[in-house]
Symmetry: C2
Subunit: 273 residues, 2 copies
């Protein structure tokens, strides 16, 4: 089936969106559309112009025999700020206050579109970090982790508190929960993370940072390097954090249970601005 | 910024892909592109033709004052069969056999692209079921659940074995694990599922069906109806299943630990073919 330009543009757009962070040779498209490479190059130029004009991501082209095209999902700074500010406002709803000063966040975490949009902010931040695996802690870190992983085109390793029998040999470590000062265990299936990966850690919430610190130590057991850690919401904590190399999307600066007042601000990812 | 047709097609394609199962008025696009509705209608015709020609999904248009366009992700039967057959082959690798006759599947579940592709098969099957929430069991059902939820444009409710303190009031039920005959507890935060939702249950694995049965009962506690249940891999089980209204993508028909042989076939979703 031969495609006219209009059909090629539609198909090429969906193909690139569904294959982020992958180098696709021009020959792939010229065979797919039975079209000359020169036409394909023009098509790519149009896609690139539209994507970059609308801040949908970068379309990187490379020339030569191995020439091709790569779609890198990014988000413009303005869009990122707008999305995170909306989230802050949403999180400040006093109806979220739970006993113990916890915040109800499952509606945000349960919204796949919100996870995708926020995942894009993180994937954009780490676009050049050479991430080749995402590590997260079950349960509530998983949705954001998959959103980021999909955009960076890397697999996810799910760390757990339990020691499940259905995943073969596991690696467990003890760690000290920073806020509760309790010794806990976290485990990861030996097979679920390739040794010497460059890991990006994703989680939904961080207080003192004990869980993140634990995941960093666990990564070391797999000879992995840590590209960074990104947190949906970081609670501002009076004591020293157990980790320093992380970014947060939002900062929970105050939960006043008595006055029923929550204050949420942009996280450290935006600090440099 | 005025768009030429080529730019409109690229942007409209990405917009529809990112907003599945949503009715988008023509006026939205004519304002977005500062273009006449007649041009927008032609654009949509081109997108529709390409999407449907490539089996990428349906583009439904409606006329009149409230006229608009809706993208419904579907997968052609051939593509679905090809994807599921590939999965079956992958799962038959004897290296997956774990003690107790379990199967290592975290590599498949940990692959966001595989989850998206398989999620599309399920979202396609339930495209007209009026699903308005996905329910899944932590941990391993979550990735597939989010893939389906994103395509159906509905939220996810995560049921858990533990009773976490950070989600406010929870609803718990006891259920009997079908294969182990043990009484267990599952819980869902009261706030995390709107009453009277039409729920699609997603899980990674099913043996006797006790967990699925439990989630169906739990749904009832929220006055929800159950649109169906979809399972990544169903183990063929000698005893009667505890549920009947479900579909599976794959069927594990044999795990011979001694001979190190696994047999995996297409699941019940394909039975009618």
């Amino acid at each position: 089936m031969k495609f006219r330009r209009s059909g090629r543009l539609v198909d090429m757009t969906q193909y690139l969106l569904n294959h982020p962070h992958q180098q696709i040779p021009l020959t792939f498209f010229s065979e797919r559309y039975l079209s000359a490479k020169s036409s394909i190059s023009e098509d790519i130029g149009i896609v690139k112009e539209t994507f970059e004009g609308k801040n949908l991501g970068k379309v990187e082209t490379s020339a030569g025999a191995t020439g091709g095209v790569k779609f890198v999902p990014v988000i413009g700074n303005e869009d990122a700020v707008r999305q995170v500010d909306q989230l802050c406002e949403k999180l400040e709803d006093p109806a979220r206050i739970l006993p113990g000063g916890y915040l109800y966040m499952m509606d945000v975490i349960g919204d796949p579109k919100a996870m995708q949009d926020l995942g894009r902010v993180i994937a954009s931040h780490y676009q050049d970090a050479g991430v080749d695996a995402i590590m997260t802690m079950a349960t509530k870190g998983i949705p954001l982790a998959y959103a980021v992983a999909q955009l960076l085109n890397v697999p996810v390793s799910i760390v757990r508190h339990e020691q499940r029998i259905t995943e073969g040999s596991i690696v467990s470590i003890n760690y000290v929960s920073g806020s509760k000062k309790q010794i806990q265990t976290m485990s990861l299936a030996r097979r679920s993370l390739k040794p010497a990966s460059n890991v990006l850690i994703i989680d939904d919430f961080m207080k003192a940072g004990g869980t993140i610190r634990g995941m960093m130590d666990l990564a070391e057991e797999f000879q992995a390097t840590v590209a960074g850690a990104a947190i949906l919401t970081e609670a501002v904590h009076e004591e020293e954090k157990l980790v320093s190399d992380y970014v947060s999307l939002t900062r929970l600066t105050e939960v006043d249970v008595k006055e029923r007042k929550i204050t949420v601000k942009r996280g450290s990812l935006f600090d440099a601005d």
